[in-house]
Amino acid sequence: MVDVTPADGVPPAEVAEMELYHPHSWWTKYVFSQDAKVIAIQYSATATAIGMVALVLSWMMRLQLGFPGTFDFITPEAYYQFITMHGMIMVIYLLTALFLGGFGNYLIPLMVGARDMVFPYVNMLSYWIYLLAVLVLVSSFFAPGGPTGAGWTLYPPQAIMTGTPGGQDWGIILMLVSLILFIIGFTMGGLNYVVTVLQARTRGMTLMRLPLTVWGIFTATVMALLAFPALFVACVMMLFDRALGTSFFMPAIVEMGEQLQHGGGSPILFQHLFWFFGHPEVYIVALPAFGIVSDLISTHARKNIFGYRMMVWAIVGIGALSFVVWAHHMYVSGMHPYFGFFFATTTLIIAVPTAIKVYNWVLTLWRGDIHLTVPMLFALAFIVTFVNGGLTGLFLGNVVVDVPLSDTMFVVAHFHMVMGVAPILVILGAIYHWYPKVTGRMLNEAMGQFHFWVTFLGAYLIFFPMHYIGLMGVPRRYNELTATTVMTESAHDLNAFISIMAFLVGFAQIVFLFNLIWSIRHGREAGGNPWRATTLEWQTSETPPAHGNFGKELPIVYRWAYDYSVPGAKEDFIPQNMPGSFGSSREPA
């Protein structure tokens, strides 16, 4: 055992105290707040609100797919608009904003022992620009011609042509402007998350003592800062093509019998830029989920995380590797076979660090004192779901398998499992876990159990049949498939079944929202540390933490974040800020 406490007692905290901005009115305290915790709640509420819109859009799509020809208001154009907005909202405006803007803002300062983010004013601006981006996006629903129906990937040339909904109307312009705003706002927030982790850690909090949640969010933010510019460039250039008539992406093309003024551009160039952002984006969403789930499992299994160092290295490794796999989204774009070979190889290599993480989660559970609380249930469900989604990823990562499957529902099922359901399960589990810290009250357990089981089982009942109909050859992107060889009677029945399940799962989310609001007043009092967790956010003097997070003095960190069930210790957890040496029976250094 290495005890690195100096002999002459503990010196006072020497970290330079931040000058906190003190709000003077209700407006600056709750609306234009510079407190990261308030900003986090603003981010989360906005993301959840726009996420509900996307949920309703998915219901509309399922209505059409499950019961084609029944609903007159879902025209083919409307169907494409629903698809596009559902995808874009879920990936960018919900998942990215909620993980980084929501959890990042709330947890980073508390977990590293900081008073606030290092640039609070910029942090506030970040949220308001994000809100503006969301409003611009929403406004496209009311614009002439409606929102864009180009598909969430916005591929040119169709994205800006007459046949596509919103292509020659306002839709695509508002979408591109909204994305550009989002990226500007995110960059402001992202700078804060990175620099806060680098500079504002409290005394004793070395990088290798950070909870994995912080490692996940930190790495994901670094990736996002480097990947979002690619989307920015793609959006600006497409905006030029659409609004000013340049030909960055637009080839010579005849539309409605008329030669357009564009010529010579390369749609593939857009795909490269888009996926150069798009693939890291998968891990921008996944890495915070990895980090959070590690902490949930360790806390609720009362056991230290297995292979902490390996977990950190895997997070960093995945982050780096994810920048060299983008073209596996473009196998069907007619690329050189050697390119496909290269990208298939990198894609399969990235499975190695990911598998390491899965093993470590399972080994953390091994002989742990597992408490099946609601957050733990969600964390366990995440592991299962991520393995499921990841395995079909191995299929699709191979060129020869991807080419026939690329345009089928199999791909839809795959990415919903790995990038939709899995991260959402973590978000839900994390909300059940940290809600007591945010509000001081527990979420209702019975509603939580109901929410979990319906969501978890329902998601499988939606997406397992979808894999199957995909393998049968049912193509994606079509609003209606009648009397084709792939659409057998049984495939139709399965589609109807999937739709009913989708409604059920959506309904469970409404129960969850009700629980969130109901428990603010009626939930059980939580106390400061209901899960008996070790990390710093549970050691604040007040719950919910006041402005400035940690009373008069910043905590001092003496140990890593995972001292659970240490032999010889009085309790089964030792907070990070508790001095003293325990656990002499563990392996020698």
């Binding site: 990175v194 000013l244 960093v316």
Partner: protein
């Protein structure tokens, strides 16, 4: 996409170098107590604002590297016709270099506490940067007058797009410079003023570097350079 990959390789190299100093091989489960006393204080000794600006400049660099990547990929297609660069760009380059030098002088003066020299440097830098922007607009007007319109050819489109994007970044920098200059007159605390001036200088040097790179790109030298590299490699 090779330009952006090379850029990211540089970033990865830097991150790797930094991580290698962060005791990633430590076994935190065996270490209790205050490691901080053994390996020195947490965080970097650099001011937080400088690190923030550094991270931001990495993002800006990434943005221009991506524009460059797109430029090369689009250039390879058959309809590309290079445009003659206006002579005024040479003048603009000189002015921007002057601007950077002025800020460097202001930064040195701020370290010595010579407030008059700081003010002179800040104002000179601001005026020359404005002159640069005006010069860029003159270049745009010359090109449009000669018929090199935005939509006529992708080379023209990229010229306006990239110079415009660079100009916007200069414009943003001028806001920061303006606030610093106001602070220099209204008696900001010396150490605070010094930090602001240094931040401005850092941003200016970086944008000068970006300008030199895109000037070489737009003039076609970058393509020639890459061609030579490619021949050496094969």
């Amino acid at each position: 996409m090779s330009v952006i990959l090379v850029f990211l390789l540089v970033i990865v190299g830097f991150v790797g170098w930094w991580l290698s100093h962060q005791r990633l091989m430590a076994k935190p489960w065996l270490e209790q107590g205050l490691i901080g006393d053994i390996i020195g204080p947490e965080g970097s000794a650099l001011p937080t604002a400088k690190i923030g600006l550094g991270v931001f400049l990495a993002v800006v660099g990434c943005l221009f590297a991506l524009f460059t990547s797109a430029y090369f990929m689009r250039m390879a297609l058959s309809d590309w016709q290079a445009l003659p660069l206006p002579r005024v760009l040479w003048f603009n380059t000189g002015v921007l270099v002057l601007s950077s030098i002025a800020l460097q002088c202001a930064s040195v003066a701020a370290r010595r506490g010579e407030i008059d020299a700081v003010r002179l440097g800040l104002v000179t830098a601001g005026l020359t940067a404005l002159a640069f922007l005006v010069g860029q607009l003159v270049a745009w007007r010359e090109l449009t007058a000669d018929g090199y319109l935005l939509t006529a050819n992708p080379a023209n489109s990229f010229f306006y797009l990239i110079t415009g994007m660079h100009g916007l970044h200069i414009l943003g920098g001028l806001v920061g410079l303006g606030r610093t200059t106001a602070g220099a007159w209204n008696g900001a605390r010396p150490e605070r003023l010094r930090l602001s001036v240094e931040l401005c200088a850092m941003y200016w040097h970086f944008l000068l570097f970006v300008w030199l790179a895109i000037f070489a790109l737009l003039a076609g030298w970058a393509a020639t350079f890459i061609e030579i590299c490619r021949q050496l490699l094969t």
